[in-house]
Point group: C2
Chain length 285, copies 2
């Protein structure tokens, strides 16, 4: 028999093999190797796996500063990922060593901005950057909490303003979501769901990339991926994917940009248009 | 533009963070932490992620002894996973530290048996064991090669017979594959495919587990998973899943064991019954 593992009262491991600088500075470093089973058919890291590493880097950075999800759960709060943007000039390849710097750029009342720099450990070349936005919610009410009031504003100690440590990629401003064409509907299963019973943030990234044909990955490179998490979905929900290609195309006729929306449970009698849960934008080059 | 990354002439990293004992003994140790994004809704490691770690452990063990896939590719050979069996008395939970021992139990002309022990790093308790069978194939002919003739039988130096280091779980003997009922057919997409253009070995594990209802994971524990890889499938193939539940059931009426078969491209006019590619058996307790 299984039971849900309690996150509370469980010390985090002190052998975080990925983190080489566990100090309490404002920036932390998380490193990993690109494993053979984590690369796509071009030999480059799956974007979803990179996203997973970024979330792990964020988790360790916040835990080491007393703001980890496990620590917050004890006081009935948790972090919720609201947006994630990744922009790369190059995707790490199989067996390469990668290190991720992460830091907090700003803290507002209801949101905090966390940035990432992604770099080759051996020669220092920069693969790209990422931006993320997180909200703190109260676990009982599921409502956002005022970050500046928690722990007497302790979180402000870790902020590095953009003029001190720039993250030179644009912020994501989701436009009005596309409503057509619906290109795929899928059921959700056991492997889609995280410990909270929600569809895993990174699984949405995988499902979005699975909308595109082989030729797009063969002939082009994924340059930027933006995703906004608008509502949660759960095991058993159906997900309908809307993909609106841009007018600009490559010489081979494939679009350079796709505006994606995901709606859950479209077509149910009580709610035929479903509910918008994800908005995303994917740019190839 | 992407191009396939060459595996040849690329030194393997010397910072294999997962491997703590890189020596040339017969047994090597590979360790990892169970990450928050790698656990299921019960808080336990996804079996597919565990399988991925086992394959990584195997890859490092063989590379460090001159038998890595990258080294073999240079001489036009590669390893092919033929069978994998995992049997667990407990599945590692979120944040636990796990270490995997791996060693070679036997080498025959066309196959080698590699075993795994999976243990909690902190208190030494054993989660379970795994067995795998691998063939060596010639990359140009795709035919099996005689392992005993390669490199003057060097591989025999690494064998530990079962009486010296036992692996106390049964070997998998696939029975006649189930042919009905077909319970799901899926298309394959970008995220399913590995660097060789094949559907990733571990993705099959995920797809098989996605056949089962939530109640099976809520009320029971996955005790054993066996899979035999009979033929390859490729991006764009359709996969049809046949799942034959056992007559023995739990008190809640769910079956304890499922015989699974996967066939590709069923229903094509030239080959209506498709081709058998995977046979698997899943045991819950």
């Amino acid at each position: 028999m299984n039971s849900t593992t309690s996150l509370t009262n469980r010390p985090l491991p002190n052998r975080e093999s990925g983190e080489r600088v566990p100090g309490m500075g404002k920036v932390s470093l998380y490193s990993f190797t690109v494993e053979p089973f984590h690369v796509d058919f071009t030999g480059h890291l799956f974007l979803g796996v990179l996203g997973n590493h970024l979330l792990n880097a964020a988790g360790r950075h916040s835990h080491n500063r007393g703001w980890g999800i496990d620590q917050l759960n004890e006081v009935q709060y948790t972090w919720v990922l609201s947006r994630l943007s990744i922009e790369l000039t190059e995707m790490p390849a199989q067996y390469e060593h990668v290190e991720v710097e992460t830091w907090v750029e700003s803290v507002m009342k209801l949101f905090t901005e966390r940035n990432f720099l992604i770099r080759n450990t051996d020669d220092g070349r920069i693969y790209g950057y990422a931006r993320s936005i997180w909200a703190m919610i109260d676990l009982s009410s599921r409502q956002p909490s005022n970050l500046l009031e928690l722990k007497d504003g302790d979180i402000l100690r870790y902020v590095i303003p953009a003029d001190e440590k720039p993250c030179p990629i644009a912020k994501y401003r989701p436009s009005r979501p596309a409503t057509e064409p619906a290109v795929r509907t899928i059921d959700t299963h056991y492997s889609d769901v995280d410990i909270n019973g929600h569809i895993n943030s990174i699984k949405y990234v995988e499902h979005v990339l699975d909308l595109f044909p082989r030729e797009l990955f063969e002939g082009h490179r994924l340059q930027r991926f933006d995703i906004a998490y608008k509502a949660e979905s759960y095991l058993g929900d159906t997900l309908t994917f809307i993909s609106q290609p841009s007018d600009t195309t490559f010489a081979d006729g494939l679009a350079t940009t796709y505006d994606i929306a995901i709606r859950k449970n479209v077509g149910k009698p009580e709610h035929p248009e479903g509910e918008a849960i994800i908005q995303a934008k994917v740019l190839f080059c």
